[in-house]
Amino acid sequence: MIIRPYGDTTGDGMVQVSFTLPVPAGKAGDGAARQLATKMGLEPALVAHSRAIGDGFTFFVVYGRVSHLVDTDQVIVVERDHPLLTPAEVNTEIRRLLRRELVVVGACIGTDAHTVGIDAILNIKGFAGEKGLEYYREIKVVNLGAQVAVDDLVTRARHERADAVLVSQVVTQRDAHLLNTRAMSDAFATAYPDGNRPLLVVGGPRFDEGSAADLGVDRVFVRGTTPSEVASFLVHRLGSRDLGASA
């Protein structure tokens, strides 16, 4: 289906934009803002507000109509291609598949110390009313906490014979989350024989779900993830994977 932004009538295409330009406030500045807005597709573009910040900078609020069409059929979303299981179901699956506990090693790598997110997934306390993975009888959770160096993570994963490694990245300034994630996946790639490494799962509020392949991991989770989504994914993947190897 083809749709357009909706201001107050179907198809009006109205959007709001704000940004700062390194120009002094004034007519020329407004013109520069209009130029940028036009390049973004706003036509006409109304510079509704411009305010000087310090000397060299001006902040702008622009309203306008974009002609871009959104084709909802072209939207690629990482939809769950597997059922969402209850803890009980997850436990049974694990027993069936592994005949032993599923070992999950979790950490917040690099210099990132934001553990609330990963704890929401791992700790019993859980998130959004769901209990975390520690609550699952058949899952053994090793939560390494924050600011874990990639090498230490690999070593611990090995030592714990981890089936899955869960990594959180919240700080994204200067793409820290991408750099750290790639460093992590590379390290596992080199440390393990092909196809034999644990499942690599990263999560954080500012990741792009579609970037798993690009980051060299098996799955990327974003804001609002709940523990059961993660657990269901893990058993699903382990099921559809040759287990002889990792055993």
Binding site: G7, D8, T9, T10, M14, L46, S50, V61
Partner: protein
């Protein structure tokens, strides 16, 4: 609430009465084309000719051509009905075709004609009575708004069908009152458009069909939500009396109806406006409709601090005119607004002072609290913050009807998302600070109380001047006292539609309503 000296308050009301009485006398002594058309509409005349001119206008114009309007339409029209023995619509059509001559009934028919007219018009009033009972029933049946202030949201798509959708969405999102903005300029039309309308600028037309469509849709939504969602529109303009009649017959719940708005902001003749507003308010009173007055508008053209007392004066006058027309305290949505320059020191406390003054002067009226508009800019972030403080002032000072402010006030007519953000804003403030007023205790002689007293004193001075000036209120309006708008008594639109009542004047509607 503030401590205000009761005698000072009494003086203020007395002066307002002194200033208002001569205007009421004028209003009683005159009639207007719209008053007479409203009478025809109450008697059941509806619809329009092929080019959209309402039959009420066609019939009235024919009568007027023959006799003028100074005797009222009732006598000539029902006399003609007797002669032609036709119904109103047929008569209007014949009259439009020029095949009817109108005259006053002869002595021997006069009583019969009066009686016939009265019966016909009473039907309209009875319909209004039924609609009022219906509202009361629905409110008890379905339930009323959960709290005060009532949350009042504007819808203005310019297409009645989009309006219906957005009105429902707004109600579901938490609005207690929905206002359908009408098209710019309708207030200057000397007729009420007919049918469902899908055009207009910054809103679509106020028509009987549109009223009915939206009210029905909201009845449905009200049931769905378990609370009766009120509907409002605008009366002020050249057709105040007719729109009031239609609103009553279609069970609108509130109407914007100000005694001076049309004069000041639409350059409608003062006399025309005062005659029309009195009749329209009598109809509102009967319909159990809550009126909203327009003092907030003054602060969009005059400074909210310098002109604060003109708002108070206008509120007192609106109260006087309203009560004289039969409205009760619970029906008086007197207007005021959060329009003080936000860069002014203590601006928020000044707003609190003004809001508390109104609250204290009119303890039983559901005050209408208008959001910042004039000092809103394209900085929508700042605007959203200002609206939050407006909401807080409303909660702290116990306002009755809270008009939801939109961050895009200075940019566009509200977007769907603006309304949603605005409602979240209101909900946060009312929820997070709902009972903060318990901790809000302005010192008896502190900044707030002192400012409130000062404004009241200035209001009393101004009323005093007006009442002592021979030209009275009309003179004051001519001098730009309100909203800096100068409107001479003999200027403005619609004066030609006003006539002094003759000794034969008869209008069954006013007879009934003046009781």
């Amino acid at each position: 609430m503030l401590e205000l000296d009761p005698t000072t308050i009494a003086t203020a009301r007395q002066l307002a009465a002194q200033v208002g009485r001569p205007i009421v006398d004028l209003a009683r002594a005159h009639t207007t084309t719209s008053v007479e058309r409203a009478t025809l509409r109450l008697a059941g005349l509806a619809g329009a000719d092929p080019d959209g001119t309402p039959w009420a206008n066609r019939l009235l114009d024919a009568v007027r051509a023959d006799l003028g309007i100074e005797h009222g339409v009732a006598l000539p029209v029902w006399d003609a009905l007797r002669r032609e023995d036709a119904d109103l619509l047929t008569l209007a059509q014949k009259a439009a075709a020029g095949s009817v001559r109108f005259e006053l009934p002869s002595e021997r028919h006069r009583d019969a004609v009066r009686a016939a007219a009265s019966i016909a018009v009473r039907r309209g009033l009875t319909r209004i009575d039924r609609r009022r009972q219906e509202r009361e029933r629905l409110v008890t049946e379905i339930g009323d708004a959960p709290r005060k202030p009532w949350i009042y949201l504007i819808v203005a798509t310019g297409n009645i069908h989009e309006d219906v959708e957005q009105a429902r969405a707004a109600a579901r999102a938490g609005a207690d009152v929905i206002a359908i903005i009408r098209s710019t300029g309708q207030s200057l039309l000397d007729y009420v458009p007919e049918g469902l309308t899908t055009e207009g600028f910054a809103g679509t037309y106020a028509t009987q069909a549109n009223f009915r469509l939206v009210r029905e849709a909201l009845d449905e939504t009200s049931r769905e939500l378990g609370r009766y969602v009120r509907l409002t529109n605008y009366a002020s303009g050249l057709c105040m009396p007719e729109i009031a009649a239609l609103a009553g017959m279609e069970r609108l719940d509130m109407m914007l109806n100000d005694s001076m708005y049309g004069i000041l902001f639409r350059d409608i003749n003062p006399l025309r406006t005062f005659v029309d507003q009195r009749f329209s308010r009598q109809v509102h009173a009967r319909a159990g409709i809550i009126i909203n007055t327009g003092e907030d508008n003054y602060l969009t053209t005059a400074d909210a601090v310098d002109a604060a007392h003109t708002v108070t004066v206008s509120q007192l006058l609106n109260e006087y005119f309203a009560k004289e027309a039969g409205l009760e305290d619970w029906q008086l949505g007197l207007g005021h607004a959060f329009e003080i320059d936000p860069d002014l020191d203590e601006s928020f406390r000044l707003e609190l002072a003004h809001a508390l003054l109104a609250r204290t002067l009119f303890p039983d009226a559901p005050l209408k609290w208008m959001p910042p508009t004039r000092h809103m800019t394209g900085d929508v972030f700042r605007g959203h913050l200002l609206d939050g403080f407006f909401n807080l002032a409303g909660a702290l000072t116990g306002q009755g009807i809270l008009l939801v402010g939109m961050m895009t006030e200075a940019v566009v007519t509200p977007w769907l998302s603006d309304r949603d953000l605005a409602l979240q804003n209101v909900r946060y403030v009312l929820n997070a600070a709902s009972n903060l007023h318990e901790d809000f205790r302005p010192a008896p002689d502190g900044f707030i109380a002192t400012r409130a007293r000062q404004v009241l004193a200035e209001a009393i001075d101004l009323l005093g001047q007006i009442s002592h000036d021979s030209t009275g209120l009309l003179g004051a309006i001519g001098d730009g006292t309100f909203g800096l708008m100068r409107r001479p008594a003999d200027g403005g639109r619609g004066l030609d539609g006003v006539a002094a009542k003759s000794e034969h004047y008869f209008n069954p509607a006013t007879e009934e309503l003046d009781r």
